[in-house]
Subunit: 326 residues, 2 copies
């Protein structure tokens, strides 16, 4: 099979070719130079879809919630793209184990596109790749895109926040270890979701969150939006319709001038993440050759990491740009 | 209180002043320019301690194991430093919630120093800061240092691997979600530990791991070291002594010439992580001023992230180094 140019894949993706969508996402993930012109054009065409970021600690029921949300959105006529930046995603049995789709209910619906992205092997570039994937789905006609990330690790949390509407999922009855991780992600929520609300102990989780919100502990002043706490049960279906309605309300509230600041924050995040990728790539290719002798010195403690790092950066920039530093 | 120079803190840390150790670790974490000369000197003096990396998924019993290990190491006369890069660490009730020590048994032992490090707010710099913390503990006289990281997220896993001996903790009976995360971290183990071996279902976890090792699925050729699988119970104490003995054997096996390759790999990782920190800091300070107008254009989709990123990098390097690119 000959190599199909990314630009061709982009045209096919826009025409709704699912295979082309998948291949282009792979190229975004691999961060190939060849794909960038196509991804750049796609970015400029995108921006119509509503991007929902969804995060929560392991065990909070994120993926089940994504499935239920998707069903309701489908019933309302939306085409739904799902980007799961989650090594434990059940869509794939762990992206690390491949990209096979297990969640057959959704997978058999042509109005749903599910993509798992690996979180390992893509330092820093994960955010950039996930957001590129959203744009590809956007131009391919998916009107709602859900980015699901596991709420552990700074990058994962920031990706969920780089969206139009951010959901944070909490679940009752998780251990202390999990609860502590959770504390770090609550403040990014536009909407709090408490899953497993068929359980007796869900009430306390709901009350705790509402109390924290009342105390102003979880939010900077957002006079335009009252952060709701919605209890859902994937088992009984309770709360899912209400959640979809709240998401639509949030979208409407931030669609116009009011959302400008938010869109600029997301754009700034994306710019810096993309710049980090490009900078570290340029640096990495140059540094790979220059680093080993410095590392050998470092291993003997005949140098220190800061001086060695400065030497490496200076030598790399000299090499890359053909002149010394001022 | 006047500002104590980092160099003074370093001298006090070497003399065993615990408060100075803590303050210097905070400065390493904050990545202050002023601290670097002191950290550089500390690096060159360090290298005597045995650094144990310990990782595992949430709920695998890492922290309890660290406590049990520490007891046995203390009984053998070691001074133990613990660096917990884990937002859910019980030492602090979550580093994100502060740095208070809750694990009183260990905390009251002057031969043990416990430090939790936040995993958020330190993009990329977490590895660098954690390894700086190990050096500080090393020169302060701690002979064994345990870095505990939660086995979710690439940085966390790599930090645990940047050690003399890497332990990966598995536990029986965790859900599918957790098991899938686990698959990504098994290959870095020098020693596999199966916790909660008082449970009936631990046998299967032990057998599975041994089988994977036999099949060669988890290891590149390491003819010098047969990776063991050790079952432990923090409840009954089973296996902890055996684990400490295995750790000592691994240390001995890689102490000399044989460990050179490993020490160089760790040094290379550290060099690149430090260089990334320095590079992104230099870039970030310049880019912070130049990025917002580009981000505003990007938010309107009047530009694309790649072109904007290149423009930002070029403008930043021009500004930082006072000339254009070749």
């Amino acid at each position: 099979m000959s190599y199909v140019p990314s630009q061709t894949l982009a045209e096919r993706a826009v025409a709704g070719d699912l295979r082309a969508v998948g291949r282009l996402i792979s190229r975004a993930e691999a961060s190939t130079e060849e794909a960038r012109a196509a991804l750049a054009l796609i970015y400029r065409r995108a921006g119509r879809a509503h991007v929902i970021g969804l995060t929560g600690v392991p065990g909070s029921g994120k993926s089940t919630l994504v499935a239920k949300l998707t069903h309701v959105l489908r019933a309302r006529g939306e085409k739904v793209g799902i980007v799961a930046v989650d090594p434990s995603s059940p869509y794939s049995g762990g992206a690390i184990l491949g990209d096979r789709i297990r969640m057959t209910e959704l997978a058999n619906d042509p109005g749903v596109f599910i993509r798992s992205m690996a979180t390992r092997g893509a330092t820093g570039g994960m955010a950039r790749a996930a957001l590129d994937a959203c744009d590809i789905l956007d131009v391919a006609g998916y009107s709602t895109i859900i980015i699901e990330t596991v709420g552990v690790g700074q990058d994962e949390v920031e990706i969920a926040h780089a969206s139009d509407t951010t959901l944070v999922v909490s679940a009752p009855g998780l251990g202390d270890e999990i609860q502590a991780i959770k504390a770090g992600i609550l403040e990014i929520a536009d909407i709090h979701v408490v899953s497993k609300c068929d359980r007796d102990d869900a009430h306390r989780t709901l009350t705790d969150l509402k109390q924290m919100l009342t105390l102003g502990a979880l939010t900077k002043a957002k006079p335009t939006w009252q952060i709701p706490v919605i209890g859902v049960s994937s088992y009984s279906g309770q709360g899912i319709e209400e959640l979809v309605t709240k998401i639509a309300e949030h979208r409407a509230a931030f669609a116009g001038e009011l959302g400008l600041e938010r869109r600029r924050r997301v754009a700034l995040f994306r710019l810096l993440k993309t710049a980090e990728t490009v900078l570290l790539e340029r640096f990495g290719s140059g540094a790979a050759l220059l680093a080993p002798p410095l590392a050998a010195q470092l291993a003997e403690r005949d140098a220190d990491p800061y001086a060695a790092a400065r030497a490496l950066i200076d030598a790399t920039i000299r090499k890359e740009y053909g002149h010394g530093l001022a």
